[in-house]
């Protein structure tokens, strides 16, 4: 229980088409992440799944049942919002229990589920507090708890970590991953942060301008991106794109990830000058201005000392170089 099918969903706000025909299949227990730049339609797609927006056309099927005309509360879903969206006038306990109470669940059952969820998220000491008396991280845990108690077929997360600071973000990410492992529930997660996508997902859906660019596992997207958009979006620092014509290649663009370049002070393929070096400890990012390739980023594992202005030669790993055609698609 907990599969989701999206069939040719389109959404337009007046003349503006936000979703241009989305087809997607999510199997039971999968953790699917929608990722894409701002305005790509990922949040809108999540809202259509939740029933908070009506699609202009197409069907949303949850567990084999067409829910396109079902109100959000009856879809068997739970949602965690970016801004927590806790009810300010209710205690943590009542915040978590409200949905069940509305659905007419017996009080004993509500109490039992709140007990499980609050111990899972270590929220027991705060059950009688109001949201205003909690920190950001605690609030987001309450919001997750509110979703957990409903025992939904589908969990929907709308950028749940964006309002947290960096350290909390890592912790909460871990909690969400553990939660998924423990509940074995189907989860759909929207983010613009590719690190969250790579670390959490079983399956990543890359969206751009209302279209799905590629669907695949994190490593699949990293190793064999379908086009230049996915190649540039997945991976940090971003993949280097070099104009094929400047290198005398037939492909429109040549792509090579910063970590698939090696540098040498004496000889190599592309001669360049160091513009800037970022020392991160575990690795070093070098920005080279190359005669042939233009400005490229090189990621070196460990410490590498390079002064701005020094001359270095960068050599791409030929086995890990991508060739893109004029339409942006990868050339085999």
């Amino acid at each position: 229980m907990g599969s989701l099918n999206i069939e040719n969903v389109k959404k337009a706000f007046g003349p503006v088409e936000v979703l241009k025909g989305i087809n997607l299949e999510v199997t039971d227990g999968e953790f699917v992440v929608f990722v894409g730049p701002s305005g790509c339609g990922k949040s809108t797609l999540l809202r259509v799944i939740a029933g908070l927006e009506d699609s202009t056309s197409g069907r949303v099927v949850i567990d084999g049942e067409d829910v396109s005309a079902t109100p959000p509360a009856k879809r068997g879903i739970a949602m965690v919002f970016q801004t927590y969206a806790l009810y300010p006038h209710l205690t943590v306990r009542n915040n978590m229990g409200l949905g069940l109470k509305q659905a007419g669940t017996p009080a004993a059952e509500i109490g039992r589920r709140i007990g499980i969820a609050s111990s899972m998220l270590s929220l027991e000491p705060y059950l009688e507090r109001r949201p205003a008396e909690l920190s950001g991280g605690q609030r987001q845990r309450v919001a997750i708890g509110r979703a957990v108690v409903r025992e939904p077929k589908l969990f929907l997360f709308d950028e749940p970590l964006s309002n947290l600071d960096a350290a909390l973000r890592v912790n909460t990410r871990l909690e969400i991953a553990q939660l998924h492992r423990r509940l074995k529930a189907t989860m759909i997660y929207v983010t613009h942060d590719q690190v969250e996508a790579m670390t959490l997902a079983d399956k990543i859906v890359v969206l751009n301008a209302g279209r799905i660019e590629q669907i695949g596992g994190p490593m699949e997207l990293y190793n064999s991106p379908a086009n230049d958009f996915v190649a540039g979006f997945i991976g940090s620092p971003k993949m280097n794109f070099v104009d094929g014509a400047r290198l005398g290649e037939t492909a429109k663009t040549i792509g090579v990830r910063p970590e698939h370049l090696t540098v040498d002070p004496k000889s190599g393929t592309w001669k360049g000058t160091v513009v800037h070096a970022e020392h991160l400890g575990a690795d070093t990012n070098l920005y080279l201005d190359c005669e042939k390739a233009g400005l490229i980023t090189v990621r070196i594992f460990g410490v590498y000392n390079a002064e701005p202005g020094a001359t270095l030669y960068a050599t791409p790993d030929p086995a890990k170089t991508y060739r893109f055609g004029a339409d942006g698609k990868v050339l085999k």
């Binding site: 809202r47 939740a50 029933g51 908070l52 109100p71 959000p72 509360a73 009856k74 879903i77 739970a78 949602m79 919002f81 970016q82 801004t83 927590y84 969206a85 806790l86 009810y87 300010p88 006038h89 409200l98 949905g99 509305q102 659905a103 509110r146 709308d158």
Partner: protein, 279 residues
């Protein structure tokens, strides 16, 4: 306090301006209250001096309470003001919620239409309103006044409240929808408490003109049964003799309820006016 942000001459200057303004604003009110405690000779002999043992007289208050049916007038005013206020806030907030929350064809036009009343004084339609009330048999009832004042207060209420409703987090409303709350529950339980400061602002701006209005009570409900305080005070304003003691006492008494309601709303009011200006 640090001297960087405050200098004595500036501070004195600012206080002088503010104090002058306060004096100007309070002057008429104080004159009215002061003279209401004086005898007729005291009022005309030295209108600007406070009551002395010689001029002190409660004749005004005894006349007001003894002569006209003033308690009844007060009651009418209160019923009209509170009922109108209730309907203005209820319908204004509901319309504002619909305008800010739902996308529908003609949303902007509807918003403009509802705000139109701010620019057109309702008194221009007095003749038509009177004809309407005569036709529907509502002349000389408090209902007539409540209906007119509700209509008068709605445009500003819708205009102000819809701005504030737009600021209420969409996520919160959506969370309510996912938890199965009805739109009414979302409106009354989630949204209204969050816009309470702006409701108080609207309440004060709506309340004062209604309480002070003389025009519509005079035209629509001048009967003894339905007189409001402001109309009742006219009782003492004769063509040849004016009972100033009684008028001043009546006006002083009429200030009280507004003052009480203002105190109730004022804490919220200040938050309502400043919210948005400073985060």
């Amino acid at each position: 306090m640090s001297t960087a942000t405050r200098s004595l001459p500036r501070s004195i200057g600012a206080h002088a301006i503010l104090l002058t303004y306060t004096v100007i604003a309070l002057f008429p009110v104080i004159i009215v209250i002061m003279n209401s405690f004086k005898s007729r000779a005291g009022i005309f002999g030295a209108p600007l001096t406070p009551p002395t043992p010689k001029t002190f007289d409660l004749i005004g208050y005894t006349t007001v309470i003894g002569q006209g049916d003033f308690i009844h007038y007060f009651q009418n005013s209160l019923v009209v003001t509170v009922a109108s206020l209730f309907f203005v806030l209820l319908f204004g907030a509901m319309a504002a919620f619909a305008l800010s929350e739902y996308r529908f064809r003609g949303n902007t036009m509807m918003g403009l239409y509802l705000a139109l009343g701010i620019m057109i004084p309702i008194r221009l339609g007095t003749v038509a309103i009177l004809q309407l009330m005569v036709a529907s048999g509502l002349v000389n009832t408090l209902t007539a006044l409540i209906l007119v004042y509700t209509a008068q207060g709605l445009p500003l209420a819708v205009f102000i409240l819809s701005e504030f409703m737009k600021q209420v987090s969409d996520d919160l409303k959506n969370a309510g929808r996912i938890d199965g709350l009805s739109e009414y529950t979302i409106f009354f339980r989630l949204v209204l408490p969050l816009v309470r400061p702006s409701m108080a602002t609207v309440a004060v701006f709506t309340m004062i003109p209604i309480w002070n209005d003389l025009w519509f009570p005079l035209i629509l409900a001048p009967s003894e049964e339905t007189k409001t305080v402001t109309l009742g005070a006219q009782l003492f304003l004769g063509q040849f003799v004016t009972n100033w003691n009684a008028i001043l006492a009546a006006l002083s008494l009429a200030i009280m309820p507004v003052l009480i309601l203002y105190v109730i709303f004022s804490r919220q009011l200040i938050r309502g006016i400043t919210s948005g200006a400073v985060k």
